[in-house]
Symmetry: C2
Subunit: 355 residues, 2 copies
């Protein structure tokens, strides 16, 4: 068979990024990919045409000068300037060296911020079942992908909710926050969220069904704000932001409160100043548990529960998947930069190709 | 029966205490107690002659102007100036309205910083089994009392150790720290402690058997200090001090590290400045669990395990109970003040009477 050469465009960083990302930090590179690699030692290589790629805040941590926190796991390895950037996504197999995947299969998994991905080990990809009838975008780091399992596992396994618990969600209009709020409502909790604009606050109350919500940018004293929204205290905090908000939550937490630490967006782009100074005496007297987690740790049983519950809720219409989609590889840098400017509501994705 | 009147001396605070306690913050009061209360509506009242009373750092929190943290549980209720101060202790029953207790019984439980205690509900007292042969002082908040169960439950139930784990204990020459280090060694962990003088450091290494120890006051950069003592990272941190040390531990923690928050002595006498600013990004990537706990929450099964294991270890000589005893009610204020000056090694007690 003749070798087919394709031209691949992909996003790279120009250097390490230590503050908020700017458009000038990124550029678009091109490479030529062979669909029949001549040096085919690794039988498992799969070439994927990317359809949707996920735009996630945590990627900024991988773009910083290397920090000790990130050594703990491999997918958080540093992104090197000029190199392909791995990201969750959905695509179609163009060429497969892996026995379980064929040309034409739809797959989800770690792809990249580009038009095509050379996946070294096809084992890491999941074949999608198109017969379920969901949009492909749902699997690209969204409601049926990493955001979904993060919200579901973080809420049910880390927070261990009881019906009637008072739940607070920060960055509640973001991809994970929107889902946590909905899972918590479906489970029977009282749910308050915070977000950074009036539009987002109205959206999560009126369209999503949070019991209440507030714009944290309009509040001058977060401790009293939380006291106002939770006169009976907070039982569960699903933390996407860290910093001062976490500090204020600890002060307003009930005995045996649980905090799932999912994201620290307030710290991703600054450094030391915004870190919360937690009242550890309160942590003791109120027996508060604060636990960091990553969705990659959830076991198969939980993954199956998540998928089964979530697809049912989606089919019944009880759960809404909110997406914010840009188009084309060239739009990736601005889509990413927008995350830190509060531009998105729901899951931020870039659609790379129509198929 | 004729009414017997006894004169009781007890310690009181003169006002709320917000910084480090001073001798001038305390005074000795006197009251007359009747051994046959004429107004005997509550049948369960027990009058106890105190033999040993426990001197614990957490009491300072109860002496402050009231803080929200303390509302969560009753035994941490504010200590009011001029009022009797409850404290763990051991004593002999002088008069009992409770059916299970008789005059002459030895009991442990919440007594007070005084010569006698009027216990409103005898149910709260535990009768001691003198036949086990341990010194009475062991039950007065020490190795067989609150320090013991705090160390045992905090280590085994909250930290969930595995053999070979790298364990760090702060305030390691204190009552709880000394026991945690010994339980961890007996269980098969590698244990490093820190303390505030060379003598304490030598003591916990040479007499108690910690694998290593350091004087934190001689260290200028706690993060690099911990890296030096734990080149392979920390799996478990038993936190008695909070503040900067906690911050440095998070930076040196391994994936799935556990932090049992038992005390925050660095914050008890100052307020905001010394609070640690935790690297919450590290908490996520390393999936660190930080959990506050109180010994009152440990269930009967754990209490029994603790008592059985600890008495065996004491009998075999594998576990050492270190005590630091002062004498007489008048010595209580200085004994307490000394806790915050680092004066004690092991369990601080005051012996009130010879029996």
């Amino acid at each position: 068979m003749a070798e087919v050469i394709i031209r691949n465009k992909y996003v790279v960083t120009k250097s390490h990024i230590d503050g908020a990302p700017e458009e000038s930090d990124f550029s678009i590179s091109e490479q030529l990919l062979s669909l029949k690699p001549t040096n085919n030692n690794n039988k498992n290589v799969v070439v994927v045409k990317n359809l949707y790629v996920s735009i996630d805040p945590y990627q900024i941590n991988r773009m910083k000068a290397h920090s000790s926190s990130h050594k703990a796991i491999s997918f958080s390895a540093a992104i090197l300037p000029g190199q392909v950037i791995e990201a969750f996504g959905v695509g179609r197999v163009m060429e497969s060296g892996h026995p379980d995947l064929e040309t034409g299969d739809l797959v989800s998994g770690l792809l990249c911020w580009g038009e095509y991905t050379v996946v070294e080990d096809g084992q890491s990809l999941q074949k999608l079942d198109a017969s379920l009838g969901f949009p492909l975008s749902y699997y690209a780091g969204g409601v049926l992908g990493s955001s979904g399992i993060t919200a579901y596992g973080g809420f049910f396994q880390v927070c261990k909710p009881k019906k009637g618990d008072n739940v607070f969600v920060s960055a509640a209009s973001g991809s994970v926050g929107l889902l946590v709020g909905q899972y918590a409502k479906l489970f029977g909790c009282y749910v308050v969220g915070c977000a950074g604009t009036k539009e987002k606050v109205d959206f999560i109350k009126e369209k999503i069904g949070f019991d209440d919500a507030f714009n944290y940018k309009e509040e001058t004293n977060l401790k009293s704000t939380l006291q106002r929204y939770f006169p009976k205290g907070i039982d569960i905090y699903f933390d996407n932001v860290g910093g001062e908000m976490l500090e204020a939550v600890v002060e307003n937490m009930n005995a045996f409160g649980r905090i799932a630490v999912c994201g620290v967006i307030s710290e991703y782009t600054n450094s030391y100043l915004s870190k919360g100074k937690l009242d550890m005496i309160g942590v003791i007297y109120k027996r508060i548990r604060i636990e960091g987690f990553l969705s990659i740790d959830f076991d198969d049983t939980l993954q199956q529960q998540f998928f089964s519950a979530t697809t049912q809720h989606l089919h019944s219409g009880e759960l809404k998947a909110i997406e914010d989609i840009s188009y084309g590889v060239e739009s990736i840098p601005m889509a990413f930069i927008g995350l830190f400017r509060g531009n998105n509501v729901g899951k931020k994705l870039v659609r790379i190709a129509e198929d």
